[in-house]
């Protein structure tokens, strides 16, 4: 079942001489439960594509459908709710809120909704992430790996349809990187979440189900490794 689809997605910045086309006419789709990696050189448009899919950036033209819903034309409020409930974004530099503790950082999407968290689900995620003893700490008091785990927790808490990870291990050492990948795999297998992962690491890419290669704002190859 198709969970995500783009149609002629284009993103450009600037005008005239300084115009930069980050995405050119990108059309592709992703099946539910797929673990997709997106690779390519710097400036190929990977992050731009991910940000548009996650609703944190708007395309210049083209359409994006997530669960058959066109998100490219959603109003600001609706887009905010989409980001909160339907997608989980993980960044290379964690992007936690420094002035609230780890527990609240993880629960943030639920709290923004004014909902009472399902503590069983929360504990399960925290246990999976190995953050039981760090919940009352602040992001500044954690190591890089721990911060990224907290960021993953935040991305998972609402059980979103899609997880979008933009080089989540880019700032981590080998061991932490492997751990993070494992967590994403668990999330993919256990919660049947569709994951799109941007990475420079070839080895990491090969651990995923499908590799999309981008260059110059276009998809130049799309290889399914495992069914």
């Amino acid at each position: 079942m198709e969970i995500l689809r783009t149609e002629s997605l284009t993103k450009s910045y600037g005008e005239g001489e300084s115009k930069v086309i980050a995405l050119r006419d990108v059309t592709f789709s992703v099946e539910k439960g797929q673990f997709v990696s997106i690779v390519g050189a710097s400036g190929s448009g990977k992050s731009t594509l991910l940000h548009i899919l996650g609703g944190v950036d708007r395309p210049t033209s083209g359409k994006v459908f997530v669960e058959d819903r066109e998100i490219s034309t959603l109003k600001e409020n609706e887009l905010a709710l989409f980001r909160r409930r339907n997608v989980g974004l993980i960044y290379q530099f964690y992007n936690l809120i420094p002035t609230i503790n780890v527990k609240k950082n993880i629960l943030l999407p639920l709290l923004l909704d004014g909902r009472t968290p399902d503590m069983e689900h929360f504990n399960e995620i925290v246990s999976m992430l190995g953050l039981e003893n760090r919940l009352m700490h602040y992001p500044g008091q954690l190591s890089g790996g721990q911060q990224q785990r907290a960021a993953i927790g935040r991305a998972l808490i609402y059980r979103p349809a899609i997880i979008l990870a933009d080089e989540p291990t880019g700032n981590l050492d080998r061991k932490n990187s492997n751990d993070i990948l494992e967590l994403l795999k668990v999330s993919n297998r256990k919660y049947k979440q569709t994951i799109l992962l941007i990475t420079h690491d070839e080895k990491m890419a090969l651990e995923t189900d499908r590799i999309i290669t981008m260059e110059d704002g276009r998809i130049i190859s799309d290889e399914v490794i495992r069914q």
Partner: protein
């Protein structure tokens, strides 16, 4: 606690250092707002006190009498809060210096609340039915009486030929008095009050004991209502119930003899239903609203700028919140919450400091006035510091509203920003980045870097430049008004020749012996005595002189100076009667024969044939030309406008361009005629409505400044034998000098305060935004250092930026201020731009400019010091920057 509230609170707590600029901004803004609201309140309160002192604190009364039997109805009426009673005036015979007394009785409520109590000079007010207070002149004229003495009065009524006379009627030939009873009173006090020498009765006030009065005595009821807001409906209803005649008033609120303490009610926002729009929205209210809005605007400018900078500092975090799913509404909420958290302490401190400032300002003004011993006009000189919980509450509400207004724009902007842009934010405004085709050479790289950095941070500094410019322009507006005031005093005020002026207020001819005594005082070098009457003349267009015609002559357009008639114009005429000595000397000096002017049957006048060539010129530059044509040898005059009243013709014996009274101020387009005083007196005998002070005279004296006090004392000694104190007024030039001195000092106090506030606004804005900008660019500076820029080159780059920010605001604000001055000059018409610039206080502008420049310099100085200290690697690694 809601997550956003918790997040906002935590953020504020953890960033205390960075909040200082916001706290200062809000405190300054609140001080400004507090000052405006408090000063307005104190002025309003002073006005209210003045009205209560003058009128009393009743809400309404009836222009008709009630009797004793109607008192319970009023006392028991649900709508009436308090009732004050005063009887009609009753005549009494006393046979002292004056034959009669007019006595009225007032109950305790009346004596406690109405202005009578404020006139008490000595002793106390009456508390029993056999006690009275007397006007001060009673004791003066009958020194055998003093406080504590008893006086017997025959109470009854005056009449003449079967007609009853009122207690205050002038003495009539053949009148007599019928006694009804005799009463003895004890004098318990004296009160001040005006009484003319020709009035036949003394005024006494007694105590009204309602239980002891006769049934037929007539009383005026003054009411205070429980709900004064409905008085315009309730009072006529009460009047109707009391059986008063309906009357024929057009407006229902004035039916049934209802009369209101209108000024008192108006000050409390209670207006009659028939009030015109300009009464409902009076100039005072409009002025107050404008001042408050103006203060709020300045407040918004201060807070907007610092808040924009403050919010930009956490753009990234707000971007993260948005990416996690915070809605635009939630983002706006957190920004507003933050504004409220940050505002609480500075609003409280701002209110306290604002109160202290107003207290010291009013204290300083009143002590300046007190030390000078001058009775100066203007409420601002007499205000007393006052506040109230309602006022404090109002300031708090206005302050919060202003803060929420200030942050609404940054909040909206932040809520709309695309999340990823916020997360990646570099603070640079690429949209407006100018692309320049230039080569970077090693010689100009530092200045190029400075210019490019300014280019990229343009948006961020725009609000600072706008706020400094706005403060400068506001200061310029204020200083322009002050300059016009100074120009007016220097250029448009007549230079006094005579240094003293005695004005005698009299309804009958002044006592010539008194005048003779006054002008004979040694040390008086020169004197002139005159009286004026203001009448009208119909002028034909051809009466205009050639010179006057050449500049347009009489104008058919409506103006303030004369009226167009079907066949001419009606002009104001000032007919002045000089003492014979001055008149004769003047006519002789002009080559005329004074005796020609003393024929009562054929009155003749000297015409001062002058008119201003351009009425928009100040006096110092005014050129006067002949007004009427040489051929005009007679004028027809009317006592009243529209050809009404007594009319007569007057021949013109001569025309002159020399003023008989050397420092006479000439009103625009008025005709000035001079006759001997005795001729004026004979003309005025035939006037229909001479008016209360028709025979008032002025004695102008030339006295050396050092002799003024001595001469003043002698005049007072002479006058006390002829006139009560209230009937004359002495002005001297020293009063004007002292008054001007007070006004100058007060003006400087106020100018200093306003410029001080504006200075703080400019300084805090400049300092905080530059400080923040440098802090946010630490990474950029660390990067430059890492690639080898020297300390001095970096310093030079930042100094160049500083020079730009010192000059840029003034590049806008100086020309705009000049435009403001030109607009003022055009609107005012009398003073040119050159005049205004001549009297502008450039010192203040220079000080303000210097303070702004120094604050910008200091912001860069301390910023550079910090950049110097930064460790390159630590800054580059720090994700928090």
């Amino acid at each position: 606690m809601n997550i956003l509230t918790e997040y906002t609170l935590n953020y504020v707590k953890r960033n205390k250092k960075n909040t200082i600029s916001i706290l200062v901004a809000i405190t300054v803004g609140t001080i400004l707002l507090s000052t405006v609201v408090l000063m307005s309140y104190m002025l309003w309160d002073y006005e209210l006190e003045k009205i209560i002192l003058r009128n009393g604190n009743y809400h309404g009364y009836f222009n008709a009498y009630i009797n004793k039997s109607q008192i319970p109805y009023l006392r028991e009426n649900q709508k009436v809060d308090q009732l004050y009673l005063m009887t009609e005036f009753i005549s009494g015979k006393i046979n002292l210096e004056r034959p009669y007394v007019s006595i009225s009785y007032m109950d305790k409520n009346y004596l406690d609340n109405m202005p009578t109590k404020n006139t008490l000079m000595e002793g106390r007010l009456p508390e029993k039915a056999d006690e009275i207070v007397v006007m001060g002149n009673f004791i003066k004229e009958n020194p055998e009486y003093k406080i504590g003495d008893k006086v017997k009065i025959e109470l009854g009524y005056r009449h003449n030929n079967g007609v009853q006379l009122g207690p205050f009627d002038l003495l009539q030939e053949g009148e007599s008095f019928t006694k009804e009873k005799e009463k003895e009173y004890t004098i318990v006090g004296t009160i001040s009050g005006k009484i003319r020498s020709y009035e036949p009765s003394y005024t006494f006030f007694g105590f009204l004991d309602v239980d002891l009065i006769e049934d037929d005595i007539r009383l005026t009821p003054f009411l205070r209502m429980k709900n004064p807001r409905t008085i315009y409906k309730d009072l006529p209803e009460i009047g109707k119930a009391l059986g008063f005649d309906c009357g024929e008033e057009v407006h229902s609120e004035y039916l049934y003899k209802a009369v209101y303490n209108t000024s008192y009610l108006k000050l409390q926002g209670i207006l009659p239903p028939s009030a015109e729009l300009n009464e409902i929205i009076s100039m005072d209210i409009v002025a107050f609203i404008i001042f408050v809005l103006f203060a709020m605007l300045l407040f918004v400018i201060i807070v907007y700028n610092v808040f924009t900078v403050w919010s930009n500092n956490r753009l990234k975090q707000l971007g993260i919140l948005k990416s996690v799913g915070a809605t635009p509404k939630q983002i706006r909420k957190t920004v507003r919450l933050e504004a409220i958290f940050l505002s609480i302490v500075p609003i409280v401190s701002g209110i306290i400091i604002g109160h202290l400032f107003c207290y010291f300002l009013t204290d300083k003004i009143t002590s300046v006035v007190k030390n000078s011993n001058v009775d100066i006009d203007g409420n601002i000189y007499k205000m007393v510091f006052k506040t109230s919980p309602v006022i404090i509450g109002l300031i708090i509400v206005l302050a919060f509203i202003t803060i929420l207004l200030s942050v609404s724009s940054p909040a909206r902007r932040l809520s709309k920003i695309v999340p990823i842009e916020a997360i990646k934010q570099s603070g640079l405004d690429y949209k407006h980045f100018k692309r320049k085709k230039e080569s970077y050479s090693s010689r100009n790289i530092v200045s190029t870097l400075a210019r490019d950095s300014l280019n990229g941070n343009r948006k961020g500094f725009r609000t600072t430049i706008i706020s400094i410019s706005t403060s400068f322009i506001i200061m310029a507006i204020f200083l322009t008004a002050v300059s016009i005031n100074r120009a007016n005093r220097a250029l448009n005020t007549i230079e006094n020749y005579y240094t003293m002026n005695v004005t005698l207020y009299t309804a009958e001819l002044a006592n010539e012996n008194m005048i003779k005594e006054i002008i004979s005082i040694p040390k008086i070098k020169e004197s002139i005595v005159y009286k004026s009457t203001y009448i009208y003349s119909k002028i034909k267009p051809e009466y205009a002189s050639d010179e006057f015609d050449n500049i347009g002559g009489f104008n058919d357009n409506a103006n303030d100076y004369y009226k167009k008639l079907d066949d001419g114009y009606e002009l104001n005429v000032v007919l002045m009667g000089l003492d014979s000595n001055s008149f004769d000397n003047f006519v002789k000096s002009q080559g005329g024969n004074p005796s020609d002017y003393y024929d009562e049957n054929n009155p003749k006048a000297v015409l001062l044939n002058l008119v201003k060539e351009d009425i928009n010129q100040p006096l110092a530059r005014a050129n006067f030309i002949p007004f009427l044509d040489d051929g005009v040898d007679s004028l027809s005059l009317n006592e009243l406008a529209n050809g009404e009243g007594y009319s007569f013709n007057i021949d013109i014996g001569m025309k002159t361009s020399k003023k008989p009274i050397k420092d006479l101020y000439l009103m625009n387009y008025n005709i000035y005629l001079f006759v001997p005083k005795e001729i004026l007196n004979s003309l005025m005998e035939d006037f229909d409505l001479p008016g209360d002070y028709a025979h008032s005279e002025r004695i102008r004296l030339l006295v050396d400044e050092e002799d003024i006090e001595e001469v003043k004392k002698k005049i007072n000694e002479i006058n006390k034998y002829y006139l009560p104190e209230e009937d004359y007024y002495i002005w001297d030039i020293l009063d004007d000098i002292a008054q001007e001195e007070i006004q100058n000092r007060t003006m400087y106090l106020i100018t200093f305060s306003i410029v001080f506030f504006l200075g703080i606004i400019g300084v805090s804005n400049a300092y905080s935004s530059i400080n923040n900008n440098l802090r946010n660019r630490r990474r950029e500076f660390a990067m430059l250092k890492s690639i080898g820029i020297s300390k001095s080159a970096l310093k030079k780059m930042l100094n160049l930026e500083g020079i730009y920010y010192c000059t840029y605001p003034f590049i806008f604000s100086i020309p705009l201020s000049l435009i403001v001055i030109v607009i003022f000059a055009k609107l005012g018409t009398v003073f040119s731009t050159k005049d205004i610039l001549l009297f502008l206080d450039f010192r203040v502008i220079a000080i303000y400019t210097a303070v702004i420049i120094i604050s910008i310099y200091l912001a860069y100085y301390f910023g550079i010091k910090k950049v110097d200290k930064d460790e390159i690697a630590n800054v580059l690694k720090d994700e928090g920057i």
